[in-house]
Symmetry: none
Subunit: 224 residues, 2 copies
């Protein structure tokens, strides 16, 4: 099995497309199902599906129904997509062995992070979640950032943005690309918002803020 297969189940084609785009960019093989019944059928007839992403709300057979059916024959990891309003369902999922929840709207970054975390978990190798670049240390588990050993305070978005920069160290990132990865998919605001966040990040990083370079007419790049 070279490419990891992910089954995406959602009745809205727009959402399927969105998920497919994010996942394909990260080299996953995406199979789509438009409703619960189709999902079960596809799952039964397809070899080596590594992960299922399920929308809760669907006609015919809802997410929990699908999970229930699939759990009868498989322990494949399942991620459930829920709207913010039905947060309360979350615990219900334990009964069906749901591995993870993602609340809509989500950012691609979160989506991919969760998918990778789950796949990693099911491949069992433990991993230390610490990134270190040029004296900037991010402990993703503890949610701590240190610059030369000194902790600094970052807001949620700043944290995500810095993380995205470090992951893509040395890569030129357009505003659009940053927006599409760090912000939720339903954010249609001004791309200049990023400028503000970059400004804050730079100032909070002190002299290491200079590592976030401006690429004129294009975007930003983190480079030592």
């Amino acid at each position: 099995m070279d490419v990891t297969k992910i089954l995406v189940v959602d009745d809205e084609s727009r959402m399927r497309k969105l998920l497919r785009d994010f996942l394909v960019k990260n080299n996953y093989n995406v199979i789509e199902a438009a409703d619960g019944e189709e999902a079960v059928e596809i799952f039964m007839n397809t070899k080596d599906i590594s992960l299922i992403i399920l929308d809760v709300m669907m006609p015919k057979l809802d997410g929990y129904g699908v999970a229930e059916e699939i759990r009868k024959i498989s322990k494949v990891p399942i991620i459930m997509l829920t709207a913010k309003s039905d947060e309360k369902d979350e615990l219900k999922g334990f009964e069906y062995g749901i591995d993870e929840y993602i609340t809509k709207p989500f950012s691609p970054k979160i989506l991919v992070a969760r998918v990778e975390a789950i796949l990693r978990r099911s491949n069992s190798t433990e991993e230390n979640e610490i990134i270190e670049v040029a004296g900037i240390e991010m402990d993703l588990v503890a949610h701590i950032v240190k610059v030369d050993g000194n902790p600094i305070e970052l807001s949620y978005k700043e944290f995500e943005l810095l993380n995205y920069f470090l992951i893509n160290k040395g890569v030129a990132l357009s505003r659009e690309k940053i927006l599409n990865n760090v912000w939720n998919y339903d954010y249609f605001g001004d791309a200049r918002t990023i400028d503000t966040h970059v400004k804050k990040l730079r100032s909070k990083l002190g002299n290491k803020g200079d590592y976030i370079k401006t690429i004129w007419g294009m975007g930003y790049k983190f480079e030592v």
Copy 2:
């Protein structure tokens, strides 16, 4: 024996799944039996089962029957699952050498804690469960908390929550995660409930209450 094997016996597949999920997440190897007779049979034919979790109510052969059978040949630790209504049975269990009772519904945290306590106990070293972090001392057995040596009064939930914080010292915990671990699996309430408990914990911990840090847009973290 690398991985600890636990035999889970319950006629409800949903409950078995639930238990399996919680235990597997804690790196136990779970074997399932759907009724009493099957349980006895599996136990007889499987090497190195370290612990049995038994539901009381089962067709064919109930929990006590299973315990009785197994006690004829083994001293393996047994945890009994009871519904809230049949609490009265508890004393009965001692006759069959039941080691522990867990009342449904239970929280994952409780389940795992009991399992670990029992396994530790059966590995002979007698221990008084005491956790101490930054002058906060928790005696899990006696259910006593001391701050700088002075006992403070915590309710059950506050106790559990504090314990969860201390166990996960330095780790950023989302509300969702806290809910899934400290609350019972049948709790579908508001995540903001946690805020209230945190508030109370903080105030009861006095100046050490500051160790429970708020991570904006994310959750809480206990950190010295």
